[in-house]
């Protein structure tokens, strides 16, 4: 309080530096993607027509809705969106079914064990994502571990095609994102008031009934947060469908990558990104609402 001017400056610097950085490298890039999505592809460097032009003392703005029309007309694109949403949804459900009991068991473990179990769950997500997806290639391939084992046991005579199918993509997504489901679930389950569950069973409720009527409704915040943490990145996933998926697991992240790097059609890639973002707005808002609420409740 000694030097008000200095304090004032310090506060503005603390706010100003990250603010400018994010404005420059987070907000502005999205504005550019939006702008480019209305542009036309061209054989040039960079490969698109300018959107703004200043000719004869007049500012010309070219808005080309063609990219968005293309997304509507070409069934490949909306099939890719549908496939992505469907696969992300099923994989999220898979993570929930496996992750919920795991989070529950951790939350009920002795306090000293909880930290260790959480570390065990989180550790794989910190080791390389790419490597963990790659590990499944060796397990699922036609002469891979599972097929070899099944053949050796005499269960099958011909290898089952697992790699390059949707099944492999589901395994990959569940495997890679499971820890992100467990963490928020654990955070809500650990705060759950156990006396409510005891009361329910004292009053004669079966354990399944107690789960549906008490445990699940009370942990809904964690269920939503975990599901969104899996669903959102899974929709835009590129690495997993590229390495584990087949030609029919055409997810939108992979299509965007191909449009950008292989076809070099930057405007179409941009409009693909804009539509993907529009589809994800509801899940992203849901997640943000949960996050800000849980941050406020901590204070």
């Amino acid at each position: 309080m000694k030097n008000p001017l200095k304090l004032f400056k310090g506060r503005h610097l603390t706010m100003g530096i990250p603010y400018l950085w994010l404005l420059m490298f987070f907000a502005l890039p999205f504005a550019i993607v939006l702008k480019l999505s209305f542009s036309t592809a061209a054989i040039a460097i960079p490969p698109y027509e300018p959107t703004f032009n200043y000719v004869d003392e007049a500012l010309n703005i070219f808005v080309n809705l063609g990219n968005y029309l293309l997304l509507l007309q070409d069934s490949m694109y909306y099939m890719a969106y549908l496939t992505s949403l469907k696969m992300a949804f099923v994989a999220t459900l898979g993570c929930l079914i496996l992750g919920f009991p795991m989070a529950y068991a951790i939350a009920r473990a002795p306090a000293r064990m909880q930290a260790v179990l959480l570390l065990l769950v989180m550790l794989p997500s910190w080791t390389s994502f790419l490597i963990r997806v790659y590990a499944w290639m060796g397990i699922l391939s036609n002469n891979g571990l599972i097929n070899n084992a099944l053949t050796w046991l005499g269960v099958i005579s011909e290898p089952i095609q697992m790699l390059n199918t949707n099944f492999a993509v589901y395994i990959g997504i569940i495997y890679a994102y499971l820890p992100f489901m467990i963490l928020p679930l654990y955070a809500t389950l650990v705060k759950l008031d156990l006396s409510l569950i005891e009361a329910a069973s004292d009053l004669g409720s079966s354990s399944i009934n107690t789960f549906w009527k008490i445990t699940l409704p009370l942990s809904m915040g964690g269920v939503i947060a975990g599901s969104m943490l899996v669903f959102i990145p899974a929709v835009g996933e590129f690495v997993i469908p590229e390495l584990l998926g087949g030609p029919d697991s055409l997810m939108i992240g992979k299509v965007l990558w191909q449009e950008f790097f292989n076809n070099r059609d930057w405007p179409v890639a941009s409009s693909l990104a804009i539509v993907m973002l529009a589809l994800l707005i509801i899940p992203i808002t849901l997640f943000h609402r949960y996050q800000s609420r849980s941050m406020e409740s901590e204070v």
Partner: protein, 271 residues
């Protein structure tokens, strides 16, 4: 009781599911056979071949440098943002900042990568800079998304710090800056280190954003791994994967340990 045992079984099933693929990878990295799926006896020869691959070694060096610079910048930006999020009065500017900083946590990577690349292209069109993409542009991209994680880690620690100690220092005549470096930084140091280590491993691991923002001279390790993995499973990559798993687990374990020790210290101080 029945419910409890079911969840315990699922916990073990889940943990086996998480660790078995990595364990198999580690075992097969010592496979003498050139065929990845046929066991041909124990041999560390693929490790030897790995250390003679100049392309991989260059990529490792590039990745390490980028990760070092990115995590340092991410800690600076993320800590400042965390201060704004926890200490500043509710305002329009604070709200937009906290929304912007946490957004990269959930943004699909292809969108972040694409948008940053388009920014760099637009910048070089407009001001002629950066003339070409390389380590510098990857550094900017990685600093931005890692700052999000640092902000979350540091802000949760800042909420627990006792403000009265800082107030006492300032009452005794320390300037705001001096108070920050002599009082606040030591108190939040473990979370700063944990945030730095987390950023370091995130940056080392990133493939998608780096692919969009890097140029000819800045191929990172995940990019090299990805292009060779696309061709199929190879024993040399198994060896590389084993080293990556060990190194990153070590870093991750260290950051977790530091964060936990800090928590314990804080609890002990409060009692």
């Amino acid at each position: 009781m029945k419910n409890l045992s079911f969840s315990k079984v699922m916990l073990w099933v889940g943990l086996i599911f998480l660790y078995a693929p990595m364990l198999i990878l580690v075992i097969y990295s010592f496979n003498d056979s050139k065929l990845v799926t046929v066991w041909g006896g124990f041999s560390p020869k693929w490790y030897g071949e790995l250390f003679q691959d100049q392309q991989i070694l260059n990529a490792v060096w590039t990745s390490l440098r980028i990760a070092f610079y990115s995590s340092t910048m991410a800690v600076i930006i993320g800590t400042m943002a965390a201060f704004v999020m926890t200490r500043f009065r509710r305002s329009w500017a604070k709200l937009t900042l906290s929304n912007m900083i946490t957004a990269p946590l959930v943004m699909p990577e292809v969108i972040t990568g694409l948008s940053l690349l388009l920014l760099f292209v637009q910048m070089s069109e407009t001001f002629g800079w950066p003339t070409e993409r390389g380590m510098f542009t990857v550094w900017i991209a990685h600093s931005t998304f890692c700052a999000a994680y640092v902000a979350v880690v540091v802000s949760s620690r800042l909420r627990e710090v006792d403000l009265s100690i800082e107030e006492a220092a300032m009452d005794l005549g320390a300037t705001r800056l001096k108070t920050f470096f002599l009082i606040t930084v030591p108190m939040i140091a473990p979370s700063l280190i944990a945030g730095w280590l987390l950023s370091f491993s995130l940056s080392l691991d990133d493939l998608v954003i780096a692919s969009f923002t890097s140029g000819p001279g800045s191929t990172t390790l995940p990019m090299v791994v990805f292009s060779s993995v696309r061709l199929g499973v190879s024993p040399k990559i198994n060896a590389l994967a084993t080293i990556i798993i060990l190194a990153v687990s070590l870093v991750a374990f260290l950051s977790w340990y530091l964060a936990r020790r800090a928590e314990k210290k804080a609890k002990a101080a409060m009692e």
